[in-house]
């Protein structure tokens, strides 16, 4: 509650500030989106519409840029972002199985990437350069190597428990 009052409108004000900083220059669309994503942690569609209006470009072209770069995300992400590497080394060591296990444990599927409670987001990524640890995953900044089905189940349990304890 208290927090909400403090945050009152600040995110959107930062959008305004970013637009002012770049003087609404349509050529600066990418950095503008980048800074907005930093504030919101994703690109809300209303904000993209607002940016299009402000830059005098079509909403479609902003959408095109926002979906082109995998760095941008149009959905809010969970508190914990799980990235499962599906590079060649991990793939041959059955990363698909790890993905399936995460999906099953978290109630996600190919279309839903974020849990309803906004706690976990599951992503597949190309090689993260830790092939020695294959199959490898990261959860936020932490790296977990040589993953197995069992370890995956364990890990999910651990994060869930920690959350419950902190709540």
């Amino acid at each position: 509650m208290q927090k909400n009052v403090q945050e009152f409108g600040t995110k959107f004000e930062s959008v305004c500030a970013v637009l002012e900083k770049y003087e609404c220059n349509p050529h600066m669309l990418v950095p503008i989106l980048q800074e907005i994503q930093a504030a919101y942690s994703y690109l809300p569609k209303d904000v993209m519409n607002y940016v299009a209006n402000a830059l005098g470009v079509t909403p479609g072209s902003v959408f095109g840029v926002a979906t082109f770069y995998s760095h941008f995300t149009l959905e809010p992400k969970g508190k914990y972002v799980i990235r499962v590497c599906d590079g060649t080394a991990c793939h041959v060591r059955k990363s698909t199985e790890i993905i399936k296990t995460f999906q099953a444990e978290l109630g996600l599927d190919e279309k839903t990437h974020t849990t309803e409670d906004n706690l976990f987001t599951l992503e597949e990524v190309a090689c993260i350069g830790a092939c020695g640890l294959a199959p490898v995953i990261t959860i936020n900044e932490d790296v977990y190597g040589a993953m197995t089905k069992e370890k995956t189940v364990e890990l999910v349990k651990k994060y869930k428990e920690e959350e419950a304890a902190n709540a």
Binding site: M1, N4, V5, E7, F8, G9, F12, E13, C16, L19, E20, K45, D46, N49, Y50, A52, N53, A54, G56, V57, T58, P59, G60, S61, V62, F63, G64, T67, F68, Y69, S70
Partner: protein
């Protein structure tokens, strides 16, 4: 071997302004790229992504050619500059194999079930695959499971058939400055979509159909309703009326192998009667009525110097565009209905009286060159108690399809006469079909009203140029006029007018480049000249008619003398357009209150309010709220266009709407809601 020797000879002996294309010497003119030079040589290179009116994209790689002594040997002709002395081969083994492979890749990566495709027979991919003899596809079929988009009354999208040539994206942006379609996503997921993947009928698309015209495959097609039309025709309880727009008659022949520009109205009437239409009228009659009303409106506005420049409003794509982007100009649009909607109201009124039947027994099918008219017919403004003035709109191409479906041999058709009196028309009406026509027609009428003498012509507004500006003298007044076609041209002109750089008395706007003759519902022109030939067909017809000014139309005169009073004129012939929200999203919540809500603020963030300082107002309001500790009480929302453009910035404080809002005005209103 022989040819090789020849070609070498040619290059050596000819002057430096020559290029050799498959041994044919071609003199360089002002061609902007190699492709044009090759086509000049009479070689029709296959292309998907090249259109002479659009920017060069160079993505489909169908136009690859070999250039002798150049590294790396093969080049895309569309995006290679023609240089004197080049020796080109367009059909070597390498090139043939590559083209075939590209076609196979396209067939493998999108859904091409030809028999059920509306584009079959007019599809470039189908044509080129046949031409190159592609017999089987070596690659695995990987078709994206994208659903069809049938949300627009004008165009249908089938994204699974898209080959990503980008033609539609460029037309919509470069020619129409609308930009409804754009590339999104990346790599294998790349798609052409609307913003946020919404239905094309739910976004800014104006329904002009120019994207359908350029789409080489069945990914974009005209939204057809032929089944409904056949059902009406076969319904014994209904009186089914057809009315035919001017541009249809000079283009339909092309669907049956005829040259462009031949006036086929007599055959069209015969065909419609054979199919079972009860009455067939010429929409030109209504165009005369439109001219008379619009001419009177113009004379009045000019005399009072009010709401000038007057904009024509016959083109529904332009009207929607104005509603979306220029709401502050809506009072400048002519309030006269377009010939189609005017015909609907007048015909239903007259026929129901004549036949003693109720309005809903009469079904009117408009045959026109236009896809956007399908949208206009759906507009609630053009209906009486839910019964539309025009029931169905079909395009020239769809009429040709009906003729074929019925098995009528168009070539063998005789001529039949139109039903009277609602078909009687002057030359001032027939020219509506070409860019400049509406403007010229209104001028002819005004000239006749204001100065005695023979009918005048205003040829300076003819021709396919996208922006035509001219001054003329009528009755001692100098009028400045503009005729634009293509909405990007319209936007450029209007922006100049709004910046005070130019001023006009009358502006005609047509969304399709060249006007209705080049409407998206017309057959695809075989060459650039086809549209000029169609326009010529209309102007030739004008010359053959007894009257050239709409005011001379005796049937129109009779209507004014006997049937129309002020009230009827208003009810049947006029309308009003309203602001349209460009972005149809719900209000967007910027911050939510935590205490019991007392203060609801909604700010407009439409483009117009934005340019008038909405963002600064928002910043100041936020500061005010914070300084006064109102955070917990305030719900702050934003809306994309509160439809009060011209009066921005606009703020809603609880239920009070504040126009031209300043911080002071807002604070005053907040003080009323939350007295401190």
């Amino acid at each position: 071997m022989n040819t090789n020797l020849n070609s070498n000879n040619v290059t050596k002996t000819s002057n430096l302004k020559t290029i050799t294309v498959d041994s044919i010497p071609v003199t360089l003119g002002d061609e902007s790229n190699l492709l044009e030079v090759i086509r000049k040589a009479g070689i029709e290179l296959p292309t998907f992504c090249y259109h002479s009116d659009l920017s060069v994209y160079g993505a489909c790689r169908m136009c690859m050619v070999e250039i002798e002594d150049r590294h790396p040997g093969i080049f895309p002709a569309c995006s290679t500059k023609a240089e004197p002395g080049m020796v080109i081969r367009t059909n070597t083994k390498t090139i043939r194999d590559m083209r075939k492979m590209i076609i196979e890749l396209m067939l493998a990566s999108s859904d091409h079930s030809c028999t059920t495709c509306p584009k079959s027979g007019a599809c470039k991919l189908q044509d080129i695959a046949t031409q190159l003899g592609v017999k089987d596809v070596r690659f695995k079929q990987m078709v994206a499971q994208d659903e069809k988009d049938l949300s627009s009354p004008c165009i249908a999208r089938d994204p699974a058939k898209c080959i990503l040539c980008g033609d539609c994206v460029r037309v919509c942006d470069e020619i129409q400055s609308v930009g409804s379609l754009d590339f999104a996503y990346r790599g294998a997921d790349a798609r052409v979509v609307t913003c946020g993947n919404k239905g094309i009928g739910e976004v800014e698309c104006v329904g002009c159909g120019q994207c359908v015209k350029v789409c080489p495959v069945g990914a974009l097609t005209i939204k057809t309703n032929l089944t409904d039309v056949w059902n009406e025709v076969h319904n014994k309880d209904k009186i089914v009326v057809a009315t035919v727009a001017p541009a249809v008659r000079v283009a339909i022949g092309e669907c049956f192998g005829e040259e462009a520009g031949i006036n086929n109205i007599g055959k069209i009437v015969s065909a419609l009667r054979i199919m079972g239409f009860d009455r067939v009228f010429d929409l030109n009659f209504a165009a005369d009525l439109t001219t008379v009303e619009e001419g009177n409106e113009f004379i009045q506005r000019y005399t009072e110097q009010k709401n000038l420049p007057q904009f024509t409003s016959c083109c529904p794509a332009w009207v929607k565009f104005a509603e979306e982007y220029y709401p502050n100009l809506l009072n400048n649009l002519s309030t006269v209905r377009s010939p189609m909607s005017l015909f609907g109201s007048v015909c239903k009124e007259q026929l129901s009286k004549e036949l003693g039947v109720s309005r809903d027994k009469i079904v009117i099918v408009m045959v026109g060159p236009c896809t956007a008219k399908k949208f206009e017919a759906n507009r609630p403004e053009f209906a009486v108690d839910g019964n539309p003035d025009i029931d169905h709109v079909i395009t020239t191409e769809e009429l040709a399809r009906m003729i074929k479906e019925h098995g009528i041999e168009f070539e063998k058709l005789g001529f039949s006469a139109l039903d009277m009196p609602l078909s009687f028309a002057t030359g001032g009406a027939i020219i509506f079909g070409s860019t400049g026509g509406v403007c010229e027609s209104v001028l002819r009428y005004a000239a006749k009203e204001l100065e005695p003498g023979p009918s005048r012509e205003f040829k300076q507004f003819r021709g396919k140029s996208g922006t035509k500006i001219g001054e003329i003298e009528i009755g001692g007044n100098t009028l400045r006029l503009a005729v634009v076609s293509g909405l990007a041209n319209a936007r450029a002109l209007i922006d100049r007018v709004q910046n005070g750089e130019e001023s006009f008395d009358l502006i005609e706007v047509m969304a399709c480049p060249g006007g209705c003759v080049n409407g998206a519902g017309q057959p695809t022109p075989q060459c650039d000249e086809d549209n000029s030939k169609r326009a010529k067909g209309l102007y030739d017809n004008d010359r053959m008619l007894p009257f050239h000014s709409s005011g001379e139309n005796p049937v129109v005169k009779k209507l004014y003398d006997e049937d129309f009073d002020e009230h009827k004129i208003h009810e049947l012939l006029h309308t009003k357009y309203g602001n349209r929200r460009l972005i149809k999203e719900d209000d967007f919540v910027l911050s939510t209150p935590t205490a019991e809500t007392k203060l609801n603020l909604t700010i407009c963030f439409g483009r117009s309010c934005f340019t008038k300082g909405a963002q600064a107002l928002y910043g100041n309001l936020m500061k005010y709220i914070r300084d006064n500790g109102l955070e917990a009480n305030t719900e702050f929302k934003a809306r994309f266009c509160a439809t009060k453009c011209g009066k921005g910035p606009v703020l809603l404080v609880n239920d009070q709407l504040i126009e031209h809002c300043t911080l002071e005005k807002a604070v005053e209103a907040i003080g009323v809601v939350l007295p401190q």
